[in-house]
């Protein structure tokens, strides 16, 4: 089947620094694909490039490659070639994104309900009253307790977990085809992370949106991903189904990475602490 989103030979530079170097992968409908890597691997820049947000505010430049996106109408467009005006109609609409810091990704001066309403009024041309109804519906979908009360609250009046639910509600409010989640649970406590990961899995089934999740956490990858793209130093190192990557990593880098991942339960039956059995990897 034809992919929903196809990144082909993407190269992104910041001045003389190459942040993403010839990256290719496909994202299919209903699939959850994790792009995993350590800091500086280029995973976040890849995500921002799909949204065409690397050029704004920073000196990033998409040097080469295509990002083919199959629009809801069936027409395939190259996002790299889109003008800013056209990208604006896609962002938050057919492709939406959530960020790592739920504390700072909401505007502190507006109530959270207004901010979600803004998105639907912008893309779907709803009136304020209809937008408010939609917000309420979305808050219920992401299981925000007492949604009527929460809508009028300001970001600082909510916990990190609730704020991330608001961000997810905003991202899903226009029924996107692709949801890009950049380290969505990294700033959250582990019990809240578990709730958000559970919610994201549940929502994928309900909404059918494909999910591209950017993370450094192999535990999160194992929890949600169907397929995995491993990145290191701007390049794709390995790409395959999650089970294969975890059980039979082919590349030395992936092997080294997995060897240094602490796994809960790996110490069962041992009385003394034990060091990691690291795999040497020459970069």
């Amino acid at each position: 089947m034809e992919p929903l989103l196809s990144v082909r030979d993407l190269t992104v530079t910041f001045g003389s620094f190459t942040a993403v170097d010839g990256v290719s992968f496909d994202l299919h409908e209903g699939q959850t694909l994790a792009v995993v890597g350590e800091s500086g691997s280029g995973k976040s820049v890849t995500a921002l490039s799909i949204m065409r947000l690397v050029e704004l505010g920073t000196r990033g430049k998409i040097e080469n490659g295509e990002i083919l996106f199959r629009q809801p109408g069936g027409e395939v467009i190259d996002l790299v070639q889109q003008r800013e005006d056209d990208m604006r109609k896609i962002r938050g609409n057919a492709i939406s994104m959530i960020f790592q810091e739920p504390l700072t990704s909401l505007n502190p001066v507006y109530p959270v309900g207004d901010q979600v309403a803004e998105a639907v009024m912008l893309h779907q041309g709803l009136e304020k009253a209809e937008a408010a109804e939609r917000v309420l519906e979305m808050f219920r979908l992401v299981r925000i307790p007492e949604p009527e009360k929460r809508m009028v609250q300001y970001p600082h009046e909510m916990s990190g977990g609730m704020r991330q639910r608001v961000m997810i509600a905003m991202a899903l409010s226009c029924d996107p085809k692709v949801l890009i989640a950049d380290e969505p649970t990294t700033a959250l406590d582990v019990t809240i992370q578990a709730q958000i990961l559970g919610l994201m899995r549940d929502l994928r089934e309900q909404t059918g949106a494909a999910v591209l999740i950017i993370t450094h956490d192999m535990g999160v990858v194992a929890e949600v991903a169907d397929d995995v793209v491993v990145m290191n130093r701007a390049k794709v190192v390995e790409h395959g189904p999650a089970v294969d990557i975890f059980e039979n990593p082919a590349e030395p880098y992936t092997q080294a990475l997995l060897a240094s991942v602490p796994r809960l339960g790996s110490m069962q039956g041992r009385s003394e602490p034990a060091p990691f059995e690291l795999v040497e990897y020459d970069s």
């Binding site: 582990v190 578990a194 899995r201 535990g219 796994r263 009385s271």
Partner: protein, 302 residues
């Protein structure tokens, strides 16, 4: 595990912060624990549970509201400034962000030499030599002492911080989320280094962390904190393999396991941790710990 007297004994330690009109944050509430010699005690919990405040209060970066901290038989919670400074040499702390804890305009060797000079352990060429030794010990080239923090990677900077913490030959090293900000491959290396140093130097660690998988790797004993109090404490295997308190169980269930075949269905919960802020005149109910197995204590649940 720990034969004889423990290195550190914390008794009924409380730390309260006033917030606004008459309310108080009970950040640490009646915490008692011991750290044995050569042992790693991990303190785990979620943000706001008081684990970092506990660490900071133990070495008196915060003044305790009440309670005692006994180090090597001396109650340091009541010591004056000068006496405290002497005892500070015996306990050192490593923070989460190694970049923030190093002065960007000074060569890193100076940062490591500083405790030597302050505590009059060495000076001049002797101090340089000791710094070089410390650098070697933490896996850095002695030549690197003349470089500046920005020339180092995150992992190397944390090694510099470890070298600085070791300079005064401490008995207790408190690691406050010391590996949390590091990339996973670097994190593993630093953890291995810390374990190596422990066996070479007989160090005791108080390892503050939110990451249970890391804690399982490197600790002898584990304390679980919730709303300022310890709800469960015991040997590592008891906590991880036979958790008794519902909060410990919940915490362990929440940890994502790096194995796609072990994927679990998660209940779609929305409950969150209540606030540790209490109005004037009210205070949290004191939890009583009871021993369910040797060294394994659990708070009674209502």
């Amino acid at each position: 595990m720990s034969a004889g007297t423990p290195l550190v004994e914390v008794r009924d330690l409380c730390k309260h912060f006033p917030v606004g009109a008459g309310a108080t944050v009970h950040a640490v509430e009646n915490v008692s624990l011991q750290v044995g010699r050569g042992e790693t005690l991990a303190v785990v919990g979620e943000s706001g549970c008081g684990k970092s405040t506990l660490a900071h209060t133990m070495i008196r970066l915060h003044e305790p509201t009440s309670g005692q901290v006994v180090l090597d038989g001396v109650d340091i919670s009541g010591l004056g400034n000068r006496a405290l400074r002497e005892h500070r040499a015996k306990m050192q702390i490593i923070f989460q962000d190694p970049f923030a804890s190093l002065d960007p305009r000074r060569p890193v060797g100076r940062a490591v030499a500083e405790p030597l000079l302050i505590h009059k352990i060495a000076k001049g060429p002797d101090a340089d030599e000791q710094v070089a030794d410390l650098f070697t010990r933490v896996g850095l080239e002695p030549d690197m002492m003349r470089q500046f923090p920005h020339q180092f990677s995150g992992g190397q900077r944390q090694r510099v911080c470890i070298a600085r913490a070791l300079a005064t030959r401490p008995e207790l090293v408190i690691a406050d989320e010391a590996v949390s900000a590091l990339d996973v491959s670097i994190q593993a290396q630093v953890i291995n280094l810390m374990m190596e140093l422990q066996s070479e130097l007989g160090l005791s660690y108080l390892f503050i962390s939110h990451d249970l998988a890391v804690v399982e790797r490197m600790s002898h004993r584990v304390a679980v904190m919730y709303l300022g109090q310890i709800v469960e404490i015991g040997p590592r295997s008891a906590i991880f393999e036979n958790p008794q308190h519902s909060y410990t169980q919940r915490l362990l269930d929440a940890v994502p396991i790096a194995d796609p075949r072990a994927r679990r269905d998660r209940p779609l919960l929305t409950d969150e941790i209540p606030s540790p802020v209490w109005a004037a005149g009210t205070s949290p109910e004191r939890v009583e710990l009871r021993e369910v197995a040797p060294g394994h204590l659990v708070a009674a649940e209502g």
